[in-house]
């Protein structure tokens, strides 16, 4: 069973890569553009921390870890599971029919069906940045990998929940995009600059705290309670995502839009 699912996932990977390679120049331009964009952000923070070395306890190394972790987790989620960003549109336009007509779990099928290779450029950039700019030990690398994968799970769950709102609201494209953008913005700034109720919001409704700040905290000094908290958040967000998606799917109304798979 697991083997057959793996073969199915790899078949999608192959098909997606083949489709991306149909337009090589576009692909290369997009990947380079994405990496350049990441580099510009890093340059900004390097300049900033050269002027102000410590901001509410955050140093340049913390921000570099934040960017490494965030580029890696967001790159994995949006690169490997790009369809999650399209979920509201697929729901509203009745394009889930394709997945419902085939013998696979709809959510798993939907997630693995579309890869966006240039986001995988982010996933490459993250570890490269970490290796080239941060002092690493074996245990720090293990912590980075474990926490980043858990934060990717939180991000994926959050995106599925946001996208599934379309089942209930009848639309939701704009709301999903705004929620996603809010998370991306908050997650890419040091935690120290946010306080109080906003901080509470960022560990619940817009879980930027789990996506970047906890991984950074754990890289500074590992604590099992924080690590288990992150793991619990990942399980909770993914679990809630599955429940919300399934509840939404029962309300799915299909549609008759002309559509081609691309």
């Amino acid at each position: 069973m697991g083997g057959k699912y793996l073969a199915f996932i790899f078949a999608y990977l192959r098909a997606n890569i083949a489709a991306a390679l149909e337009y090589r120049a576009t692909l290369v331009t997009q990947v380079l553009g994405m990496i350049l964009n990441d580099i510009l952000w890093v340059v900004f923070w390097v300049l900033f921390f050269t002027r102000f070395p410590v901001v509410k306890g955050w140093t340049l190394e913390d921000v570099l870890i934040l960017w490494s972790s965030f580029a890696f987790s967001a790159g994995l989620v949006y690169g490997l599971f790009f369809s999650v960003r399209l979920l509201p549109r697929l729901v509203v336009e009745g394009q889930l029919d394709y997945y419902l007509a085939l013998p696979k779990d709809v959510l798993v099928h939907l997630l693995v069906s579309r890869i966006r290779p240039f986001n995988l450029g982010d996933a490459l950039f993250g570890p490269l940045l970490l290796v080239t700019t941060v002092d690493l030990t074996g245990s720090r690398v293990a912590i980075f990998l474990a926490t980043t994968l858990l934060s990717a799970a939180v991000l994926l769950g959050f995106e599925i929940i946001g996208g599934s709102l379309a089942f209930f609201l009848g639309s939701g494209d704009a709301l999903h995009e705004q929620l996603g953008n809010a998370l991306l913005h908050f997650a890419s700034y040091p935690a120290g600059i946010f306080d109080g109720s906003l901080k509470f919001l960022l560990f619940t409704v817009i879980p930027a705290g789990f996506v970047t700040w906890l991984p950074v905290e754990l890289m500074r000094s590992f604590r099992w309670d924080l690590f288990l908290g992150l793991a619990a958040a990942a399980a909770a967000f993914l679990g809630a995502a599955v429940l919300v998606f399934r509840a939404g799917l029962r309300r799915y109304e299909s549609g008759n839009l002309l559509a081609m798979r691309s």
């Binding site: 098909a15 007509a101 085939l102 013998p103 109304e253 081609m260």
Partner: protein, 330 residues
């Protein structure tokens, strides 16, 4: 043996009603009003193994909604259905291994890749044994004459070529039932003929039960032996295609482009002029009274003809005729 049974199947959609006027529409944003639209109203049917069934009706009759409920895509509002022993919306995945579906308006082929890549992907989705799959693929490539098409990006295929690939793709896993929703939509007459022949072969040579929806009366006549006509979510006729042909498809329409202006003179029993303007004329022919070949030879004796098209009356006209027939019988 029945492979599809549906009893009192009903589907109601809740649709937001948009009032006219700016303020009313703004108010409706905060307090939307919904109306219920009953797409399928207590539909019941049974399909036996190996049948070729045309499930037809005008736009909005509930055809696609019924197919989507029978394939597990939609949950019904009420009613029961079993397809190959499964409740489609509860056992969707198990059922999907044993049925195939072709939606003329939704492609399963990847636009930028050649069909062979989508076929390989489908083999993994349906968990086919790889050597069995390669044998089956070779069989279908030969049967559907796909040859070089298999290695041409889908975006470069004609609609007819694409549909041949779509249907072959849906047969890869040897489905016991093939659901086809408007498989000939948008095709030219030659491509329509080819697609109909392929569906007929799948039914007669491989024993696949065919459940086909279409707007095209030609699809019914040339592919199916039984026809169910639905209108406003209900079955209005369930009969053999032969009976439909005898009772309702006796009329054909002939579109003519003449070499000289039309000046009447086609006085045959059962033939009437629907429209005439300049060089163009449209005739309605009751083939039960005067056969179509007699009408054509009569026209050719009277006029030089530059172009001629013979077609079935639109589905809406057939449905209207069925209603009229029912009213007369009652």
């Amino acid at each position: 043996m029945a492979v599809i049974t549906a009893t009192n199947l009903r589907k109601v959609f809740r649709v937001a009603r948009k009032p006219e006027g700016g303020w009313a529409r703004l108010a409706a944003t905060f307090r939307p009003r919904y109306v219920e639209q009953e797409a399928v109203r207590g539909l019941s049917l049974t399909v036996e193994k190996g049948e070729s069934l045309a499930f037809i009706g005008p736009n909005g009759a509930g055809k696609s909604t019924t197919i989507k409920m029978l394939t597990g895509i939609l949950h019904p509002t009420s009613g029961e259905a079993r397809v190959l022993g499964y409740v489609p919306w509860l056992q969707r995945q198990e059922l999907a291994f044993r049925i195939g579906s072709v939606f003329g308006q939704k492609s399963q082929l990847w636009l930028h890749l050649p069909p062979v890549d989508t076929f390989n992907l489908l083999a993994r989705i349906y968990e086919l044994d790889w050597s069995d799959y390669l044998r089956r693929r070779a069989e279908l490539v030969e049967l559907f004459e796909l040859g070089d098409l298999m290695y041409t990006p889908v975006r470069k295929l004609s609609l007819g070529q694409r549909m041949r690939c779509e249907i072959a793709a849906s047969l890869l896993h040897r489905p016991e039932i093939l659901f086809l929703d408007e498989p000939t939509i948008g095709l030219d007459p030659v491509a329509k003929g080819a697609i109909r022949e392929l569906i007929r072969r799948a039914n007669r040579e491989e024993g696949v039960t065919v459940f086909l929806t279409s707007h095209d009366a030609g699809d019914i006549e040339q592919v199916c032996r039984r026809v169910i006509i639905v209108s406003q979510g209900q079955v209005v006729l369930d009969d053999t295609v032969n009976a439909l042909r005898r009772d309702y498809l006796t009329t054909k329409e002939i579109d003519l482009k003449l070499g000289v202006p039309f000046a009447g003179g086609i006085d045959l029993p059962g033939v009437s002029v629907i429209k005439a303007r300049g060089y163009g004329v449209k005739l309605s022919v009751d083939t039960g009274i005067t056969p179509i070949d007699r009408v054509i030879s009569h026209i050719l004796r009277q006029y030089p003809v530059q172009d001629i098209t013979i077609q079935n009356p639109p589905m809406e006209a057939i449905i209207a005729a069925i209603y009229r027939g029912k009213a007369v019988n009652q």
